[in-house]
Structure formats: structure tokens, C-alpha cells
Amino acid sequence: MTVFAIILSAILTDNFVLSKFMGCCPFLGVSQNIGSSIGMGTAVTFVMLCSTAITYPISVLLLIPRDLQYLQTMAFILIIALFVQIVEMALKKLVPPLYKALGVYLPLITTNCAVLGVTILNVDQFANSVSFAVGYGKALLYAGCAGLGFTLALILFAGVRSRVAEADLPKMVQGIPSTLVAASIVSLSFLAFSGMS
């Protein structure tokens, strides 16, 4: 994949939430208002970037040469869980304002499948690149763009949701059902981008 194709696919054509269905829980849960969408999106992007920075070398340099790929799931989830914990502590100590903004979202990220998903997809897609550096660079780019795409979807959807919340709906579709149908329409609009790939 070229750099441009990576950016385009991660943000638009293969958007993590709207076409890969990863990270649906925060997408449906934390998109009531734009503020929390931005907070959650930034926290996820940050953790995606940092955990890719750690898991990609571990997988490519350590696990694959030794035929230990089957340990990948276990190693990755442990690294992400550990890493989220460290980030939370570090932010609390070093950058209190950022912690205040992102802190509440961090514990949720361990079980966000978009984060584990992006680390696994990165190894699947880029592990056989020409050199380690090229693959590493592309993996980081993909992780960053996937996070951006996730944030974009969350922010767009927050706008849609605030309108849906004001609508007078029958009781049976209030809450999750109407949210899912709205998500379907937003997802439909993203489907149009797939023509570009």
C-alpha cells in the first residue's frame, strides 16, 4: 500500500467504526455530545499510536522470527492493558489538565476492540514490508489515521444523535434502536467513499 492509500483507507473507505465495526461500544455509548466524542477519540488515537509503537516491534522482531505468532493475542492484550494503566498514571502525575480531559475514557480503552484490532491488522498488513523501518512507519501511520477516522466518526455521529434525541419517537425505538438506525445512515454515507479505493 502506498502512503496515500493508507491514509485514505484508514480514515474514510475502511473506517474502523462504520465499515469494520470495531469500537462500536464507545461509538454507541460515548457519542451523546461533541465534547465527550473528542475526548474519547483523542484518547483512543493516542493509545492506538502508542500501543502500535510497542506491539509492532515485539511481534515482528520477537514473535514472528521465533514462530510464536500464536502468543500474539495474549501478548498484545497484556501490553495494551499494561500500557493503558501506565498512561493513566503518567498523565495523572505529569499532565494533570490532559488527565482531567481524557482520564475517564482511559480505563474503557483496554476493552475497546478497535485498539486490539488496529495492532493485529498492522502486523497482518505490514509485517512483510521490504524493511522493518518501512513497515514500522506504515504501521504507525495506519494507527494514527485509524484513530483519526474513529474520532471523525464519533464527532459526526454526535451531531446526528443530538438531533435524534430531540425527535418524538415511539417508545420501542427510543435509545439504542434509533441510535443504530441513525448509525446505519451515517455508515451509508461512508459507503460512498468506497468508490475511491
Partner: protein, 221 residues
């Protein structure tokens, strides 16, 4: 809280309809949306998750007095990831077609909130037999929900069911794509709301999530 007054069979049956983790508990949305283009993939994913759920429930329940509270969640995640690795091996060896169809989502069973949710809410407080039955029931409930969504999407979207041709003359192929997943699941949950007379206003998928306490949404922010 261990509830010895509940008869054993109820631990098994509650997950299938009354406390169905997907349609009533609104957990595990990602796999419900992602692998339900075809009924067969949905069934495979459901059974794989059931296997992991039963295994992790049994092990966590057996170790519930050994695992220190402070490292509870990491310990659970490692146990769950262990079972996921096992099922990955089994599927890769015996059902390679299903293995490649499920792809990344097989590894992502690790972060399925139903499994961590049952560990946190049930297995760590109950005995091994009860936890195993709970795992079977919840797993079957999840499988049924997946199968339902998958069947509707495949029949309407592709005109087939488990690959058998039912209707070749027309199909709504949009339903097998991403937007269709959201739409069909939304409609099915609305129907469930209608049948159970539940009002969806203050319900969200986070209510049963183990991280609900720290979640801004669960507090209604």
C-alpha cells in the same frame, strides 16, 4: 452475591431469552454487527464465543479465591486470551474456512464485553457448576442472537440461508454491507423492546459493562 435459592436449570435458561446478553443486555455489539453477513459465520462466531465463555467462566470461578482483587481484571483477561488462543488453534486446524472468514474478529473475542462482564458479574461470585451453566446459557443466547441477525441479513440481503439458494430473483445487497448490519440490529432490538415492553430511553449498552463505574456515559453524562 451467591444466590443458592436459584434452581440450577435457571442459570442455564436465563441467558437464552430473559437475560439475553445481546438483545436484552446490549453487550457485544461489535461481533454482532461484524460477522453476521452470513448465517454460517454468525453461528461459527457464536459457538467460538460460547466455548471461550464456558472455559473462562469455569477457570475464573475455580480461581476466584486465589486471584487478588487488585489484579483481578488483568488476570481475567489473560485467562480469556488463553482460551481465545486455544479456539484459534482449533479452528485453524479443523475449520480453516471459518477461520479465514472470521479473521481478526476471532482474536477480538478477547475483548468481547460479554465474557469479561460474566466473569466480573457472575463467575467470580459463584461455584464452578453454576458458572459453567451460566456460560453455556449466555453463550447460547449470544449464538441465537447472532444467528437471528445473520439469518435476516443473509435471507434478505443475498437470498440464501446457510448458502442454500432461497430466492434468486431479487435481493437487497445493502443489507449484507455495513449499513445493513446497523439497520437490522436496530430493528430487531426495537422488536425485542416491543415484546418485553421495555422503554429504551434510559438504557444503553454500557449498563452491564465491567467498566460502567468509570464510564461517563453510564452516569448519563
Amino acid at each position: 452475591m451467591p444466590n443458592k435459592s436459584v434452581p440450577l436449570y435457571k442459570e442455564l435458561t436465563k441467558g437464552i431469552l430473559k437475560e439475553n446478553p445481546t438483545l436484552v443486555g446490549l453487550l457485544g455489539m461489535c461481533p454482532t454487527l461484524a460477522v453476521t453477513q452470513e448465517a454460517s459465520n454468525a453461528l461459527g462466531m457464536g459457538l467460538a464465543t460460547t466455548f471461550v465463555l464456558i472455559g473462562s467462566n469455569i477457570v475464573i470461578s475455580a480461581l476466584r479465591n486465589v486471584i487478588p482483587k487488585s489484579v483481578k481484571l488483568p488476570a481475567y483477561i489473560v485467562i480469556i486470551a488463553g482460551f481465545v488462543t486455544l479456539i484459534e488453534f482449533l479452528l485453524h486446524g479443523f475449520l480453516p474456512d471459518l477461520y479465514s472468514a472470521l479473521g481478526t474478529f476471532l482474536s477480538l473475542i478477547t475483548v468481547n464485553c460479554i465474557i469479561l462482564g460474566r466473569a466480573e458479574m457472575f463467575a467470580c461470585k459463584n461455584g464452578i457448576v453454576r458458572s459453567a451453566l451460566d456460560g453455556v446459557g449466555m453463550g447460547l443466547g449470544f449464538t441465537l442472537a447472532l444467528l437471528l441477525v445473520g439469518s435476516v441479513r443473509e435471507i434478505l440481503g443475498a437470498g440464501t440461508w446457510f448458502g442454500i439458494q432461497l430466492n434468486g430473483s431479487y435481493s437487497l445487497s445493502i443489507l449484507t454491507m455495513a449499513p445493513g448490519g446497523f439497520l437490522i440490529l436496530g430493528c430487531i432490538i426495537a422488536l425485542v423492546n416491543r415484546i418485553t415492553k421495555r422503554e429504551g430511553k434510559d438504557l444503553n449498552g454500557c449498563a452491564g459493562c465491567p467498566a460502567a463505574k468509570s464510564c461517563p456515559n453510564a452516569k448519563g453524562a
